[in-house]
Symmetry: C2
Subunit: 135 residues, 2 copies
Amino acid sequence: MFKRIHHINFVVRDLEHAVAQYENLTGVQFEYIEEHPTRLVKTARIKLSEVWLVLVQPMDMDSVPGRVLEQQGEGFFLISYMVDDIVAAIAAIKTHGGKMIDDKPRKGISNWYVADLDTSSSFGVMTQICQEIDE
Amino acid sequence: MFKRIHHINFVVRDLEHAVAQYENLTGVQFEYIEEHPTRLVKTARIKLSEVWLVLVQPMDMDSVPGRVLEQQGEGFFLISYMVDDIVAAIAAIKTHGGKMIDDKPRKGISNWYVADLDTSSSFGVMTQICQEIDE
């Protein structure tokens, strides 16, 4: 069911600084730098072969990534696995005793529909499933 | 230079439990479960499309993953990017002002040769470069 990693998010304090540092050291250029006012974040993302790397800067500390930044500092935020059918995957995870934070898919950035697992079901790792759905 | 993600490591307290939980929820089976006495860890790994997912259980808390587990609990440990030439990549990172923990490649699991960046050069994320080298 989890065929591949779709994206990995890191939370950063200063997006411009992180992007400049990453581009300088790695020789790769971020493709999209976008604000997402509804999620209270700014993001930069790049597709490294088949996996999106996403840097997230909270614009308001009273948000999920804001609280992660406050509690843990900069670093890993979440890993998101691609599934073919997110509604079926949510049901399957629950059938197998897994606990979801999101019982229904919610809209992420781009055409990504996502649902978060409870970390008790994923040995402490913020884990998500994702399906790309074009309108 | 950083073309794709080679592997992602998570540190876990109980490898057997984490493997069973992951396999149960995701429907994927880990391919290798190995002890690495020189690194004082047990690992389980699976290749999800092109990226290796590695679970690491410290066998001794007086080790790098042991200290991460103690300080942060279970969760993300490191992200490792594939490079074509690890010696050249270390030199390039340093030329661009990056700080390495490992100035020379060290042998990881399998045929992986790795070198860690200092987290000050990677916005707090434990970051590594990796080249597969067959003997």
